[in-house]
Symmetry: C2
Subunit: 171 residues, 2 copies
């Protein structure tokens, strides 16, 4: 059974929606995805770092469209691990585990990995929105489109824009 390492932020959890919402609360205007295209997340939003550190930022993130149904199907045909960069923001650890428990109850604690660097991950397939995680990975790499990566050449990674595309690719 092939093993897939699935990222959380930007793949399962719609963190951009959180940034847009909090930025709008601060500034009174809502940025568009086009306006932050090609800019790193924490550079695109002036108070982004502060927002990431705030209570419930990760706990209340919306779920990416179709990810629940498709991940549940993947979970039957693959060995799924959810691998999330989390230790940079210690408070996020328990929020992320609770969030997974609420939205992806078929994922057991055995399938969760909260880390800093993903270089230690051994799997066959990695789905992530960050080049820094995919570039060193030697297996099959799927780049999930998000504004920060949208202008870059995907290179050897397969770019997908939606979970429906992952479904077509892997199921």
């Amino acid at each position: 059974m092939k093993r897939i390492a699935v990222d959380m932020d930007g793949v399962l959890a719609d963190v951009y929606e959180q940034f847009f919402k909090l930025d709008e609360r601060d500034t009174g205007t809502r940025k568009t995805r086009a306006s932050v295209a090609g800019i790193k997340e924490l550079e695109a939003f002036p108070h982004g770092h502060q927002h990431v550190l705030s209570d419930d930022f990760f706990r209340t993130a919306p779920v990416m469209a179709d990810s629940q149904r498709i991940l549940e199907a993947l979970n039957k045909q693959y060995e799924v691990f959810i691998v999330s960069s989390a230790t940079e923001f210690p408070k996020s650890l328990s929020e992320k585990q609770a969030w997974l428990g609420e939205h992806f109850p078929f994922i057991s604690w055995r399938q969760m990995v909260f880390c800093g660097s993903k270089t230690i991950v051994q799997a066959d397939i990695m789905i992530d929105d960050h080049f820094k995680n995919l570039d060193h990975f030697t297996g099959q790499t799927i780049l999930f489109s998000q504004p920060h990566n949208i202008l870059a050449d995907a290179g050897r990674h397969q770019r997908v824009k939606t979970w429906m595309e992952i479904e077509k690719l892997l199921l």
Copy 2:
């Protein structure tokens, strides 16, 4: 640079001391390491599961003798990752990260991995007190002696009883 995956409970953190202390508080008598030899941790202590779930169990665990000095030296010659089974007890996540920050401040958040199963870990060397983590690992394996494993044949794993032995082996 070779990568080492170092376990926390039973290798860096003296969780037996926590079990002995809390068991003595409950029963009025203190068990010895000999009396729990060969018995799984949570079977050796009647209220062990409850203790593991209690506040500060992991946060206040004593540090294993010599582990700070020797891990700091290893950290200069190896790529060190601290890999801890933690997601079974969600509350332990932040306690463990805070504990590492206090006792091993030279370990950055980039070097921490909190997971359920360690099958996903890719490294050259693994130091752990549990066969379930070492047995599937294809690199060099070092079994850290603890009462629960002390009666078993170490098999292909190199058994060490102290951090001084790790120092001799790897430095």
